[in-house]
Amino acid sequence: MADWEVVIGLEIHAQLATKSKIFSGSATAYGAPPNSQASLVDLAYPGVLPVLNAEAVRMAVKFGLAVGAKVAQRSVFARKNYFYPDLPKGYQISQYELPIVAHGTLQVMLDDGAVKTVGITRAHLEEDAGKSLHEGLANASGIDLNRAGTPLLEIVSEPDMRSAKEAVAYMKKIHTLVRYLEICDGNMQEGSFRCDANVSVRPKGREKFGTRAEIKNLNSFRFVEKAIQYEVARQIELIESGGSVVQETRLYDSDKHETRSMRSKEEANDYRYFPDPDLLPVEIDTQFIESVRGSLPELPDQKAARFAKDFGLSAYDAGVLSASRELGAYFEATVASLGASHAKLAANWVMGEVSSALNRDNLDIGASRVSPQELSALLLRIVDATISGKIAKEVFEKMWSEQQSADAIIEASGLKQITDSGAIEGVIDAVIAANPRQLADYRSGKDKLFGFFVGQVMKATGGKANPAQLNELLKAKLGG
């Protein structure tokens, strides 16, 4: 493996979050009964014509600006011709020679904290196809054209990724970005965000790319990683055993975790692209581009930089907290009521307790059972030493499950920290008196027994003794 370099490029299909389809007025909502969202235009009736949805154009421009790309002032829709039952017109309207977005870049943070720049070759608008239904029909296939004509932005990267993990990091970053821009809901189960991966390998140091295989329709980050890993191993094994990779389209089988051949280059369609004469070229003036630029939200990288600078967070923490607009907003709302000087505490809690509770209950941050204000009320009790961090975790669990405020739980459960020195001293004295042997051992040099005494005092106070005070007092008492 060490002798091979992996080369990966991704084609990501992001379904644009328009209310209606790209060339018709039909709704784009997911999960409607078959063909209930298919108009005469979607059904390709004789005589009907496409009319471009301006909102889809605006969304594509938003994306282009967010990746620092060139937004084409003139882009052209073309017809990609092939026969398939889920493609009612016998051609897909897409952009071919003149896409709306070209030459962008994206900064991607890798697991080791390094930042990699991935080139975005182009992004173009196109319509989705419908789908064939085979279940429950004897000797027939059903066609559901609800999805036909749904707007897609196809985002094509340069072959810049060098491992499956890099590919996933890039895809996640695009996923973050399109949701920030509110141009795609990012729902991968429903197919709103999916990708094709072009994978090849070459001997390390060689400039020329190896022959690539294209793995189609990967709809989870895990599948992207697994499929690429499998494909890379397959190609290396093939070459090392004297074979050669053929250019082909492959499908990933998520049950068997393997890819298999779908069609070879020779079997590929000749799509006979030509400009669609039913649609005029899309002309965009600089005024429109600037108005879209003005409407851009704070982007993930900008937010991460601001978090790092304003709140003193590490680049990693800032990256995690800005991975979605909603998470960033939750964090900022928590900090707003807690105070910026405690931002690090808030960051740890949002990334720690809050995130794991959300994961456990399979909830989005927007549906968190503890609000930012409730969380900051809890964290305030750590800051003012009412409770310890450890107790706070128990309180948080109760807040999550019982939907009560931190103070109510602390009060009702008597969890308030003991900060009265006299009270703590009394407990220490009792513990020391009850453990004379350990005291003797400690005093003869067994320092580790300090922890034993801490544990005994905590046990006796139900964990409520203020840890700092306890340490100080215990050290003095044990020292005799």
């Binding site: 005469l40 059904l43 390709a44 009736y45 004789p46 005589g47 009907v48 014509l49 496409p50 009319v51 471009l52 017809r79 011709n81 026969f83 039952p85 009612p88 017109k89 016998g90 051609y91 066609i143 000749d270 006979r272 692209y273 030509f274 004469p277 039913d278 649609l279 005029l280």
Partner: protein, 484 residues
């Protein structure tokens, strides 16, 4: 006779209640019954709905509503989708197709108050110059039933010539209104590309197709075009330019009008045909126009250019006819491929298949640049030629066709000869210009057409020139024998 009255005269009698729309509709339905079958001009006759629509128009007239086309009967080319009525496009593929909506042209004419009598025969998917490629058989020319009426709007032209309706609609992709108008002695206008919506008009070649109208005079065509024209948000290629008052423009004097004589059109032109055009030019001069020769050097390349561009677009446009959702489906398909192959193989006729194959070829990898791209470049040169010409003159004049109507069967097995029928008309489609054909005389007892072409959106000018000519001549009043 009612069927020889102009639209203006009919409107006057309708509004003064001298006749009712129901009477007028019955009159035309009777003529359709008498002549329609022999000419094979119609695919569908919608007598029942026509009489209901006529009765509705009479109510509106009785309430004092006055519109130029209110209660006037009309026949639509069977390429326009008509809600609830079979829309076959002249093809077996759509023989069972009942359109679920109205084309914009149909909607607008309905709103203007016309009464649809039926749907006209046509070349299959508008591909043909003789109306012989129709699944429903050839249309016959009322001037001589052994002759073709031209195509593809042959049924519409024959119906107008035989006085089966005062107005008929057509479409023109390479001459499909002007050529049959010429061969049947009728006035036909193809407006500027984008002037009339293509929504609901079954596509042949999207960048060339344009709807228009047949009438017995420019004055009759004007109110029909008025009703059809205008921007339609459902057609992205329709143009948002205000529609002028075409009827008001008719009487504009021709004094000072600069008429261009197209040199390329007269090279090799048959002497009798050339003489008719020169006679027409004399009329224009007498009306105060000036004439001057102009040249469009790239125009001779228009036929080969067209026969790359149009088939390319048609090969893609006709892909939707796959036997899956509507239209013809073969019996007992074995599998998907069999369904496609046999539905299309059995549903389309020979000329349509020929063009789909040609179009598929010119768009294929390895041939695209040499054919499609090159044709687009030549198309631009032809468009530039026209632009240069219209910098010098207001209108171009020439013949509509090289010959009068030919015998049914004479050219059907020789596509290249057939394609050359459109040699004078294709240029306007490639450049998106408006064109008209007017009756201008006879050769061997068969009518011939004079063609007018103008710059984009110059329909007013074309109509006023045509009206001036028709005010000074009577060719347009001649009716074929037996149909007077």
């Amino acid at each position: 006779m009612l069927h020889n009255l102009s639209i203006g005269e009919l409107a006057e009698r309708l509004s003064s209640r001298q006749i009712s729309s129901v009477e007028l509709t019955r009159h035309y339905l009777a003529r359709i019954e008498r002549f329609g079958a022999a000419l094979n001009a119609l695919i569908s006759v919608t007598a029942e709905s026509a009489l209901a629509d006529a009765a509705a128009a009479d109510l509106r007239l009785a309430r004092g509503e006055r519109r130029p086309l209110l209660g006037i009967p009309l026949i639509h080319k069977d390429i326009f989708c008509t809600d609830g009525v079979k829309t076959s496009c002249g093809s077996r593929m759509l023989d069972n197709f009942i359109a679920p909506y109205d084309a914009t042209v149909v909607t607008r004419l309905k709103e203007a108050g016309v009464v649809m009598l039926g749907k006209a025969n046509m070349d299959e998917f508008a591909m043909g110059s003789s109306n012989e490629t129709s699944y429903y058989g050839p249309v016959k020319n009322p001037w001589d039933t052994r002759k073709v009426p031209g195509g593809s709007s042959g049924g519409s032209a024959a119906a107008a010539a035989a006085r089966l309706a005062p107005l008929t609609t057509g479409t023109d992709t390479g001459g499909s209104i002007r050529q049959p108008a010429a061969l049947t002695g009728i006035t036909g206008i193809k407006p500027t590309y984008g002037r009339v919506s293509r929504y609901g008009m079954i596509a042949f070649a999207s960048s060339l197709d344009q709807a228009g109208v047949f009438a017995r005079s420019a004055a009759d065509a004007a109110p029909a075009l008025q009703a059809m024209a205008g921007f339609d948000p459902r057609d992205s290629t329709s143009v948002d330019v205000p529609v002028p008052d075409y009827s008001a423009a008719l009487k504009k004097p021709l004094t000072g009008l600069k008429v261009g004589i197209l040199r390329e059109f007269f090279e090799g032109l048959e002497a009798r045909n050339a003489a008719l055009i020169h006679d027409a030019l004399k009329v224009f001069k007498d009306l105060g126009a000036q004439t001057q020769e102009v040249s469009l050097p790239h125009l001779p390349a228009s036929v080969p250019t067209y026969y790359v561009v149009a088939p390319a677009e048609c090969s893609s446009n006709l892909s939707r006819f796959d036997g899956v959702r509507y239209g013809y489906r073969c019996e007992n398909p074995k599998d998907l491929l069999d369904l496609y192959k046999r539905s299309r193989g059995e549903g389309f006729g020979a000329e349509v298949k020929r063009r789909i194959m040609t179009g598929t070829y010119v768009l294929s990898a390895g041939y695209f640049d040499a054919y499609y791209l090159k044709a687009q470049k030549v198309r631009r040169l032809i468009t530039d030629d026209f632009r240069a010409a219209f910098a010098q003159v207001d209108l171009l004049i020439g013949p509509t066709t090289p010959t009068p109507a030919f015998d049914i069967g004479a050219k059907i097995d020789d596509p290249v000869t057939m394609y050359l029928n459109d040699i004078y008309t294709i240029g306007a489609n490639l450049a998106g210009l408006p064109g008209m054909s007017l009756p201008c005389g006879f050769i061997d007892g068969l009518p011939m057409g004079l063609q007018l072409m103008g710059p984009h959106f110059s329909e007013e000018r074309l109509l006023s020139a045509a009206h001036g000519y028709q005010s000074a001549t009577d060719w347009h009043t001649r009716a074929p024998k037996g149909y007077e």
